[in-house]
Symmetry: D3
Subunit: 315 residues, 6 copies
């Protein structure tokens, strides 16, 4: 049986450490204060209410604090809610730290780094290779730690690199099946397409949008970055323009954020590979939480569909 | 230099056999009759005008007749048009036959048949395997000769099997990369998804829609076929329902012809693999006809986009 | 003055039997359990809260239990809510049964059955008549008891047959006014169009969607059923195809669930008659609950409009 | 076999009188002038070319001139075209007149007038009755001669009254089946809904849009007319407002020309009855021109669909 | 520091008079009654809860009652809420009156009236001038007191006239820059375009939609009014039609409420000036409440966008 | 009476110099070659046919050649066409040059340059001023000669600067009326918003899209340019980001080419001012060609509307 708050069902008791992600004060109908806490560990998150909160509680139980909680999972308006029986702040002697409570990619950074290097090594066009290598170098730190998004898919530590490496695998196989594809372009497009998120998102632990992210978005940010990098490396030639086009068009349509649609073969395929990997990530994680014969919860980023796990599926 | 009408450019002369695909009589501004001919060989098709057509011409130059033509490629309203210098019906001694003028899949039927058998052999769920095998057997003839569509993608002899086998390759590799996928379901979905086209389309040479195709369409036709086959084989169980769902949902959205969207993981992926293979087929064939630095003609089924072939592409 | 929970207004007291449709446990801000009950009788339903619920309450007051309630109708977030004063489970000696609390069609099953028989009797095309008669026989039980939907219109016992018979009346009159219409086709389309709901919906009392309903939907289910029945009866001929088309197209547009739009005159009219009867059913029932000079509540299935009852209307 | 240009098929010869609806001069590729004529009789219209047109021809063959033509029906770009063999202007002694060449409603004006009177006679609300009667009186002449549109449906002399009377029949029967409907409102809505077309359209013979029709449209025109008439008759009360609402909302949705959607029961039904009668008119006339087993031409106002006439239909 | 409920932030204490805009009774989870009050002054409004409300409270604290409140601003579900410490009804001796609590245009009625007169004085076309003057006279009272809407923009006393006068300023300057514009038409369109709101909205203090407003809307109401006024003044000529068109088309598109789009130059510009003034009003008021470096709350009528105030803005 | 091909009506004779914009060879139905010429002067353009073209004609009458033509304006498929009577290439002695045949802005370059300088001079924020000045300097040549588009609005020499200067006038006046606006931001946004067109469009005489224009578009191009320029000038601070946002969002919506909508007050207004000036330019030029009481031709970029010029307009 899988452990952790993400796997706790209504009726379960809970007794473990959790990280406070958000804490908001409210006033109950009896006039007393209460705290609404969003608690998480590496498997998921759940809301909890701390009733009759004292002033001391308010100052102790704040965001990014780790706590020890015992409680019971109840249902509230169709969602799970943790009924807190007791709680206390974690002590240094408890030996727990924030990074334990952050969801992580299922593979190691070293592996991700190696796969990126491998892909660059396979490239044959020196201009493309040089440009991509420069970006890997410039952003190595963030690239290996950032999530790919603040929610929906690959929204965990190292999620961005995990998404890229997974897409590189798909790209490699599709290139074998459709050898007309230019592998260098495809690999470069895959590696660069979402790097703008390193500027669009605020960080790993409590990921939100930066001002630049809100006012420009990761696509225009990255198109500009490629232009700046090319100038810095004194690279000229159509490769730069085509790579900018791949990044610009990878959402596929104007209404999805790409003012120009894909007009190069590899741009069209980049868009489809991005869809495949994002959707498989969402579906696999949602289906992992239900039993055969059940539906998942509604997935907002999949047009709000609930997916069915057939009875004949092995769990 | 590639030969054939599909590769002829404005200004080229032409002297070879062609098949009349359509012939329509018109009356010119001088009051004389003329014939508008759509002529084709295995590489493509072109319009031609036969001016001052006699009654005999009208009876000789009709659809499905092979002719010997000499002429010159002109431009008319932005499209190529063959200006006929001379023409005559083919003779038995010319040693040409209709099948020479029909575009064919770039692989052999035997290969396609073998790949289908291989996929079925890999299946482990006996219910799914039995159902798919029964369809392969029932439709073997049509399955290996039909196009996948009357236009747009894989619109050539054996195009349907070519599309299926190509998708099976993609499916096999994606299953390796995403092992959570149920390979049997995915393979079965790929093999069955478009079999309704055997009833929707009229045949191989001059492909049009049947009445059943117009009033029902290949998706509802195939959903029903699966139900009938299951009853015939006395198969029961959720597999039948899930396979019907895969076929029903493979266009992805109601407005694209799937009244129910994909609600099973493999159904979602089936839709994406179908997109990839159809688009790669369209793109590769359109880009094959242009030089680096040029744009293709507008591709209707790709939202009317013209695609660019980068200068650094090898042709 | 009309009696029943559906006609109770804010401020009214209530003292009668009700059926528990749903019961959900919650925990109040004082830490005590409470039950949220959806209570109904044949005129409608209302939410109620049972505060400070004991373990015994939790086991007594469950779905499908009939209870005797006294209470007062309050307003909560703009909706009526029953404030419970006292309640007890119904006793055998109370002489009440579940079927008393289910909304029913305003006409008898015998009448509905007779009208269906009459329509079949009027048909002249033997193929159509035979096929429709076979369906009536196969599904007679469900056809006369099922609702036409789980909500919105004709969502009550015998609602499906009520909807069909009402549409037959409209069809008969429109056939007189537009004699070009094929009455057999129109009648058959009306009788068959929604029969797939017998497999799509779970039953009469607590109607939900079956797995087959979710993954296929009543339209593809019924298209397949017609094919199977035709094969069983060894019926061939265009009639079968046209009837499948009528069912397939009766939602009018792809985005409304018909992958093929109506392409036969009677299919177009079937769609319009379905709209008329569904809308009249919704409007009449909503307007019945308001006084002249008032607006109804917003009707979700009518694009969320609230309808006005003119002052000069007799109530 | 039906007679007239509307029933002439490719290959037919033609020898009869026709009315010139439009005449446009062009210059052929040999530098000579030609006339493009749109010719019509009461059954339909066809394009024709008069080659090598002299100055005299240009002055003789103008719009609203009747001519005697012999010719042959050819096909040009997929449409029928009359190849003129000979033509001459009609003489007084030919005994033909423009009204012979205008399509007319299949019923007499007297009948239409009587039916309108009947409907008003059935009304019970004196305010509604008085207002409707005043409009019938004010517009009697136009109401009985105007088409209901310049194309698509009921686009023939007396088409407007024919449409109204046909809708009144449907309304009467639906009122019997749904007695909750207010018959007076429904009848008044039917009679008034399109009267604004008397100002929107230019007339009976060559119907086009007036300036008022283009800048306001028949719906706002008629809403204003009802207001003016009510003031003139010194009528007050909610009836006037509700009738204005029925006219305003009868296109059903903002994007179809009704800035307010139907918010009164009879307004919703008026919209649906309008759809039924317009569609039956279009479908019956299009299907009348094809044989069983054939499809009609594409009908622009029916979402460009081509409709099928089943083989088992009597013609 | 700006005073008033509209400028109170979470954590602030509050002690002043407020007007009750709405009062609704509820029952808390402890079974006791409470009142939900919407309280306002001239700067904005806030929700408040009065717990354990007695029967006397219910009768005292009703809509349009002024009260003296002390309390503290809390946050509830992301919105500010006033926690009431004490409250009492205002006394005559408090010297407060309802009009003190209604938001007002930032300019005086006398100024607005003068500016309207000025604009009419500038007109040269006597027909247009006469018609506009008649409306100003007819509606002078309402025109100077009504809001321009019940929410979103200029939703305060004299908001309608403020909107008109502000648009006249813009119109005057644009006429100088684009002298081809007909100033008379533009001015008349600006003054008349929203006058239908005097019948669409119920009044100044608690603004809601009238029945006429709901069933017709201000645009058709005003088109009719222009027709009636022209008849009354015995004015004829194209000016009347063009002015009706300007009013009818000023929402720009059918789906935004204009069944006819602008087809006259000044109509197109009227639509754009209306957008500019409405948006500037919304933006300026929302940005006035945030500091440089912050985003406003989401603005529903601006496609739900939150706007950013740059750091380098002076506050 | 205005002179030039743009003002020539059907039936007019023509005898003057024209520039060949395009020349395409075709083959007529008599088998002879002809040339389709697009001829233009500074007032507009018209198609012409040169029948029976010799090989010499083909080499003489090519794009960018000036010719002397006599002919007559005919109508062909609803459009004007020049019937050529005689033509000859222009001689050096004719004293005509290409620039005479290109449409130009109605104001001088010196004036435009001065107005740009004036605007920069008014700016107070040194960062914004410095950045804008650098762009004016970098692109001065192109900025004063380029059109604002290849068609639709300001599609003439110096059209870009004309559009900018006209928008600056509007911006200045709106800033006076809405003093909360930041004038520096507004001016900078106006000057920079379309500068990307200098890279998107190919030039002044025969304007088409560059490869960069097709694959990126002027908006992403300019966002990048601002980033590069800021780096070059070593400018940092929020001003750069806000200016990039203004450029990025100035089309207003994702589906119109702005992946991020306006989120800053001046960005919203920039979008509206751009609309006003583009639309006034299109409307004024189209209305200039028709008489009072007439409609313009349909304007594609104005949703295909034809605009009416009221009878009471002075021409």
């Amino acid at each position: 049986m899988k452990q952790g708050i993400g796997y706790s069902a209504v009726g379960d008791t809970f007794d473990d450490f959790l990280l406070i992600k958000e804490a908001t004060k409210g006033v109950a109908s009896n006039g007393k204060a209460f705290l609404t806490l969003i608690l998480r560990d590496a498997t998921g998150e759940m809301e909890a209410k701390l009733w009759d909160a004292t002033k001391e509680d308010e100052s102790l139980f704040i965001a990014e604090q780790i706590i020890r909680v015992t409680g019971e999972v109840n249902q509230f308006r169709g969602k799970s809610q943790l009924k807190i029986m007791s709680l206390r702040p974690a002590q240094p002697t408890d030996g727990v730290q924030i990074s334990d409570f952050v969801e992580k990619a299922p593979v190691e950074k070293a592996y991700l780094s190696e796969k990126l290097t491998e892909a660059i090594f396979e490239m044959q066009n020196p201009t493309i290779q040089r440009l991509v290598r420069a970006f890997i170098k410039k952003y190595q730190e963030g690239l290996l730690t950032y999530p790919a998004a603040s929610k929906n898919h690959h929204e965990y530590a190292s999620g961005l690199a995990h998404h890229i490496v997974s897409m590189l695998h798909v790209g490699r196989e599709l290139h074998k099946l459709y050898p007309e594809l230019n592998k260098d372009l495809l690999y470069a497009g895959i590696i660069l397409h979402d790097l703008g998120k390193l500027k669009e998102l605020s960080g790993v632990v409590t990921t939100s949008y930066t001002l630049e992210g809100k006012l420009l978005g990761h696509i225009p940010i990255m198109v500009e970055e490629i232009g700046l990098m090319a100038r810095e490396l004194q690279i000229e030639g159509e490769e730069v323009l085509i790579l900018q086009h791949l990044v610009l068009s990878h959402h596929g349509r104007a209404e999805w954020g790409s003012p120009t649609p894909p007009l190069v073969r590899e741009a069209e395929l980049l868009h489809l590979i991005d869809l495949i990997d994002a959707k498989m990530n969402m579906l696999n994680r949602a289906l992992d939480k239900v039993k055969p014969g059940e539906f998942t919860e509604r997935l907002f980023a999949m047009d709000n569909r609930a997916f069915y796990k057939p009875l004949f599926e092995e769990n």
